[in-house]
């Protein structure tokens, strides 16, 4: 029998300073996801393929709820649809007890279609149309007001409604996070938020039920949440004492980091991201000290996105080619690129070979299959010697990729959910040419002519 082949490798040993990229190999074979063989999944559903673990989704949700409920008595999570609005994913979270947090009419419709009761949908976002506001009001959802134009639009609408629309005010505030996210909602420090609140209460036409903020994303410090919780609690106190309006809930948004590694970070995300317990501790501690009587404690709403779904998602794919670049670097071309892995602009995603390999590794650039210069997944990663046809697993891709992916140059692949027993269920079909052609229309004058065009005369 012939021996196993591994292509020849020769690597220059550098005596210079430690190479930040090449120092740590990610080369550990990952042949299964939740007990399902990568090879089988790709054979059945095609390559590339997104895979979600239902077990991990539920575990994440339950851990998050536990982190907050063990510290604060009244907690409600609202699933941030934009993070991953596949119906199957949303339904897992809704089954676990999550409300829906949506930021567009489209997401609002998805929440309704997923069976979320109107009052359990929180409608955020700067771009709600009049018709969308009306629908949300009629369904008794909470409209999170973003700007004065929206407030006045809703006040106008409310005149013709049988029931007062329920609203919350989105507040942006200085929590020590810079650059400050001040483009959403009403600013606290310059009095805008108080102005909006006063108008809402004075109008008598809207019911103010909540205060909301979302201070940033992938926050690597817990402190700003303490500041934000304190400022929202103070604002709620003012509502009660000055306007005689008790606030039912404080919504602290999302922004909790997953354990991905940010691009350019020296340490892996698993070492740097505070846990949800640490965030919960700061928030709960602040609210307990804010002066509410126990029976008056407002409901704490959280719109955690990426931390609940990122590590439940995998992208499986195949090596298309390896080549050497002009400067001698190794390059590996995969069958998925930034079109599917949007988050590779933020993260150095961990990527593992799906087969067994020797201990020899090399540094390689990872490119996608787009014929575009931007299509680079990793600038340098240390991997075993991959060949055409080898399969790989990208980790922690559950957040934002399956919503921000682009239909660009190629079609988007299927998505599979592995249930608690590790059985695969397709939850989104791979796109087809017919599916995309459906939306296009060709004007009559570009359709084939009844008479073949005459050939232009050529000079004799």
């Amino acid at each position: 029998m012939k021996q196993r082949y591994e292509r020849p490798l020769i690597r220059k040993l550098n005596a210079g300073p430690l190479n930040k990229f090449g120092s740590r190999s990610e080369a550990q074979a990952v042949t299964h996801v939740d007990g399902a063989a990568v090879e089988d999944l790709l054979a059945e559903f095609g390559s590339p393929l997104f895979v979600l673990s239902e077990k991990q989704l539920r575990r994440n949700y339950q851990q998050a709820v536990r982190a907050f409920r063990t510290r604060y008595p009244r907690v409600q999570f609202a699933w941030s649809y934009k993070t991953n609005y596949l119906n199957a994913v949303c339904r897992v979270f809704h089954q676990e007890g999550a409300w829906a947090e949506v930021v567009s009419g489209f997401e609002y419709q998805k929440a309704l279609l997923n069976g979320v009761p109107g009052p359990q949908i929180l409608f955020n976002g700067p771009g709600k149309s009049r018709a969308e506001l009306q629908l949300a009001a009629e369904n008794d959802s909470v409209i999170h007001l973003d700007h004065f134009d929206e407030l006045y639009e809703l006040l106008g609408l409310a005149e013709g409604l049988a029931r007062r629309p329920r609203v919350a005010v989105r507040v942006n505030l200085d929590a020590g996070v810079y650059p400050q996210w001040d483009r959403f909602g009403f600013n606290l420090e310059n009095g805008q938020a108080w102005n909006a609140i006063s108008r809402i209460v004075a109008s008598g036409r809207l019911e103010l039920v909540g205060l909301h903020c979302h201070i940033g994303t992938f926050m690597l410090s817990t402190k700003p949440y303490g500041v934000a919780a304190q400022k929202l609690a103070d604002l709620a106190w003012s509502c009660l004492t000055q306007l005689n309006t008790p606030i039912q809930y404080l919504d602290l948004g999302g922004g909790f980091p997953s354990t991905n590694t940010l691009k350019g970070a020296y340490l892996p995300g698993t070492d740097t991201a505070p846990s949800l317990d640490e965030f919960a501790e700061v928030i709960a501690d602040t609210l307990h000290r804010a002066g509410f009587r126990p029976e008056e404690l407002p409901l704490l709403i959280l719109e955690a996105g990426r931390v609940l779904v990122d590590d439940a998602g995998y992208l499986l794919g195949t090596v298309l080619a390896t080549k050497r670049l002009a400067d001698g670097r190794r390059a590996t071309i995969l069958d998925f690129g930034v079109n599917l892995l949007f988050t590779s602009f933020w993260y150095d995603h961990r990527i593992s070979p799906a087969g067994e390999f020797s201990h020899h590794t090399e540094d390689t650039v990872l490119f996608g299959p787009m014929c575009m210069n931007i299509d680079q997944l990793r600038e340098s990663v240390n991997l075993p010697l991959l060949n055409r046809g080898d399969q790989v697993v990208v980790h922690k891709v559950g957040a934002y990729n399956m919503t921000q992916w682009m239909q660009f140059i190629s079609l988007r692949p299927a998505i599979v959910l592995l249930d608690a027993q590790g059985r695969p269920h397709r939850i989104r079909q791979a796109e087809t040419v017919e599916y995309l052609q459906q939306l296009e229309e060709v004007p009559g004058h570009l359709l084939p002519a009844a008479v073949a065009p005459t050939r232009p005369a050529t000079a004799e």
Binding site: K2, Q3, R4, P8, L9, K12, S358
Partner: protein, 79 residues
């Protein structure tokens, strides 16, 4: 094609070029190829030997061979 005379290669895959002071690490197959080159075996001869010994398509070996040679040249290990 010839490996430079004074290049030191060990069986464990450590390679040293006294002319430049550079050192290199090679995996099993690269080490084997370097040893065979040192014995002045011709490329065609070495490739036939490898095809008999390893589970690899000629096409793949050809591609990897060319890549290795380019690297050896780049690292100034060839005459």
């Amino acid at each position: 094609m010839k490996l430079r005379k004074n290049i030191a290669t060990s069986e464990t895959g450590f390679i040293f070029n006294p002319a430049t002071g550079d050192s290199f690490a090679a995996n099993g197959l690269a080490t084997e190829i370097l040893q065979l080159l040192k014995q002045d075996r011709s490329p065609a001869d070495i490739k036939t030997h490898l095809l008999n010994r390893y589970d690899v398509e000629p096409r793949q070996l050809e591609k990897d061979w060319d890549d290795l040679v380019a690297q050896l040249r780049d690292f100034q290990l060839l005459d």
